[in-house]
């Protein structure tokens, strides 16, 4: 019997049809997909004891408490610490996958000078030379840390300038700094005692401040209730995550937040809904209504609604003096449920955006968001863990990645109370890294190290004998026998929380209504802290951010 070409085709068709009814295609698909997880260049945690350790996230200034699962000493999983009084177990999607970031392809692994591999000694020599030739500007993204003290000390000692890149939350508090004389870094929002919160585009339920703080409050006092205990009024130009869940969403024209705030203040004063504590805005109600795209009657009704359930607090998404002035009119500055002074520290900082004339070099700490670019022709030394691309710098210096260095965690930007915590190193760096503070200490060995500053902070806390430490147990600082024991407790990732500030600590003097400024566009939470790179786990979650809903809906 002769086998024809047609027979081969028919046989092949039969075999193909038969294969569909075997496990071959489906099993191969399954196995190959698992095989791709085990490619040799994909880091695999070592086989070893699985442990759960505690630390804090230092990716952004919020410093959320973490429960870190390690296998053989490698972090392999992240969850929130539910016992932490500030974060209350919540995390942003970025933190959930942050342990993957240390192996990201865009991790900066070597020193680079103008894109060419170089060495730490060359970088050190270049920086020392720059310091000897002219003033140096040092930019920090998370002031208040022990590392910040090292950076500021270096700048002071070498006739340089120490500047700070502020978070949007801190920028929103900046107007109060000039009216009260208290640093914006010592101010916070007493959300827990507020009954009505008027948010001008601030993504309160979607990444603003410490993720767990407002979402928990909202879930406990507002979610799903027609007449909630905590009224959230979202004034925003789009139906954002926060707007869609707020008690009331007021849709205004883009960029009209300032006019809206001024119009509300005028309506409150004219209708005598508040005892006039602030100056009268220049703008008329009709002009404010016209600019913001709502009717005059709606604006008046909104003003009455706002004050119906005090205390009332207005929150801006970024620097906006008119929204801050609305708080003065509402009597929210220095009051329960308003803007409060959490700390007696008086340090004020020069913003990083300020002009940098005649600087010989600019050193940028790894805490500064990647999208910040200094307005200077000076030689730029940039410490980063991940190269987000599109930024020019002369020196790219590999910094510690996620949980790769010991650091301390000062107050979160919006916190109403002072806090302090220590984030222990839980992951060993895979290559030679240095923090900016270590680098400066190597240039000038007379500077204190981060460890020494942390010791002295703990001693300071101990001698103040105030506040409470939240760890496995809740212990008053007064009960600790020594500063060493307090430090040992904090090294176990406990959190020191200061006593609530007494009311009336903050006096605000606002004689004239601030001039109108062009409002910066409201930011969603994904843009308040721009991650240079995203871990695979967070890529989708980070954009959609549905994890940050109320605790009852959280499935993690």
């Amino acid at each position: 019997m002769k086998v024809t070409r047609r027979d081969l085709f028919v046989w092949g068709a039969g075999a193909a049809a038969g294969l569909v009814f075997t496990p071959v295609p489906w099993k191969l698909l399954d196995d190959v997909s698992i095989w791709t997880q085990n490619w040799p260049w994909i880091p695999q945690p070592p086989r070893g004891p699985v442990e759960v350790k505690q630390s804090f996230c230092s990716l952004c200034p919020q410093g959320c408490a973490l429960k870190v699962k390690t296998a053989g000493g490698w972090p392999v999983g992240i969850a929130g610490t539910s016992t932490n009084p500030l974060t209350r177990g919540a995390l942003c999607p970025l933190a959930f996958g942050a342990h993957q970031l240390n192996w990201h392809p865009q991790r900066v692994r070597t020193v680079r000078h103008n894109g060419v591999p170089s060495s730490w000694s060359d970088a050190r020599a270049a920086f020392a030379k720059a310091c000897s030739e002219g003033p140096v500007v040092i930019i920090d993204g998370q002031p208040g840390r022990a590392a910040s003290t090292v950076l500021a000390s270096f700048a002071e000692k070498h006739n340089g300038s120490y500047r700070v890149e502020m978070s949007p939350e801190t920028r929103a508090l900046m107007p109060f700094e000039s009216w009260t004389g208290v640093s914006a870094f010592s101010l916070g929002y007493d959300l827990e005692n507020a009954y009505t919160i008027v948010s001008f585009g601030a993504p309160l339920l979607d990444g603003w401040g410490v993720p767990g703080r407002f979402t928990r409050l909202w879930a406990e006092r507002a979610a799903g209730r027609s007449d909630p205990q905590l009224r959230l009024i979202q004034i925003e130009d789009s139906l954002s995550h926060t707007a869609s869940r707020a008690w009331k969403w007021v849709n205004i024209r883009p960029g009209s937040e300032s006019a809206m705030a001024a119009g509300l203040a005028r309506a409150l004063i004219e209708e005598k809904l508040v005892s006039a504590r602030g100056p009268m805005p220049v703008i008329t109600i009709s002009a404010a209504a016209s600019q913001s795209g709502i009717s005059e009657s709606a604006l008046g009704e909104l003003a009455r609604t706002i004050v119906a359930r005090p205390p009332v607090l207005a929150i801006a998404s970024n620097h906006n003096p008119e929204i801050a002035a609305l708080n003065v009119v509402l009597g929210a500055v220095g009051a329960h449920g308003g803007v409060v002074r959490r700390s007696k520290r008086t340090g004020k900082y020069i913003p990083a955006e300020a002009q940098i004339p005649n600087a010989r070099a600019v050193l940028i700490d790894s805490s500064v968001p990647w999208d910040f670019a200094p307005d200077s022709n000076a030689e730029i030394f940039r410490f980063v863990a991940w190269d987000g691309g599109l930024q020019k710098c002369d020196w790219l210096l590999p910094a510690a990645g996620f949980l790769e260095e010991l650091t301390d965690i000062p107050n979160a930007p919006t916190s109403a109370v002072e806090t302090y915590a220590i984030a222990p190193q839980l992951s060993k760096p895979q290559f030679e890294i240095q923090s900016a503070a270590q680098f400066l200490v190597s240039v000038d060995p007379t500077l204190p190290t981060v460890e020494k500053v942390i010791h002295s902070r703990c001693e300071e806390l101990f001698h103040q004998r105030a506040g409470t430490v939240y760890g496995q147990e809740v212990t008053g600082v007064a009960k600790f026998d020594s500063a060493q024991k307090l430090e040992a407790e904090l090294e176990k990732a406990s959190t020191w929380v200061g006593d609530p500030p007494p009311p009336g600590e903050l006096r605000c003097e606002l004689r004239e209504w601030p001039p109108t400024m062009i409002a910066e566009s409201s930011q969603n939470w994904a843009s308040t802290w721009n991650a240079p790179v995203l871990p695979p786990l967070a890529t989708k979650l980070y954009r959609e951010s549905s994890l940050r809903e109320a605790p009852g809906r959280r499935t993690v």
Partner: protein
């Protein structure tokens, strides 16, 4: 019957035979445990009746997994029997201080997080619900490793069709999902994947 039907049927039969008989044999490689271990003998001779006596939960509630040498050395610091397996355990592992490199039937990929503590202590599942009657077995069954994925055949289950499986036969994500669905327990992606 036409010639085309016969040729087509022949191709079909070859594919079915290859897919159901030859493919599984080619896909898996047999491996042997470093020591022949018998759960049944341990249960009968030493009176161990509860899995948790050797597969302990630590003080913090976490499951310790396979017992370490320390647990075995509680009885086998020196030979107490005559079996070659025990001799190998004592001489090759316990006395030199090397952990036994057991081949773990239930080992999952590194991105899977499973809490025995939650499932056993909170949900009240029995060990046999997932591991079958391994504790009553007279000898450890053959460890078959998948050439492509590198994991045990026990993860997929012994039936290539995955039909008619008994408890403990198969530990795929779908099996976890089925059980969760049956018990009305909802977890998101991050409940298991980290």
């Amino acid at each position: 019957m036409s010639r085309n039907s016969i040729v087509f049927g022949f191709g079909l039969a070859v594919a079915l035979f290859s897919g159901w008989v030859l493919f599984p044999r080619a896909l898996y490689v047999n491996q042997h445990q470093p020591i022949e271990f018998r759960h049944k003998i341990h249960a009968e001779k030493s009176g161990i009746t509860d899995c948790a006596q050797c597969h302990v939960f630590r003080d913090d509630g976490e499951f310790a997994g396979l017992p370490s040498n320390d647990t075995c050395a509680g009885c086998h610091s020196d030979r107490i029997g005559t079996s070659p397996a025990e001799a190998k355990l004592v001489e090759s592992y316990i006395k030199p201080g090397h952990e036994v490199p057991w081949l773990v039937y239930s080992r999952q990929p590194a991105n899977v997080w499973f809490s025995h503590s939650i499932h056993v202590k909170r949900a009240g599942l029995n060990c046999t619900d997932c591991h079958g009657n391994l504790g009553e077995s007279d000898q450890m069954h053959l460890y078959q490793v998948n050439r492509i994925s590198g994991y045990s055949r026990d993860i997929w289950g012994h039936s290539m069709s995955r039909l008619g499986r008994v408890p403990g036969d198969g530990m795929k994500m779908g099996d976890c999902e089925d059980c969760h669905r049956r018990h009305g327990v909802e977890v998101g992606c991050l409940g298991c994947h980290q």
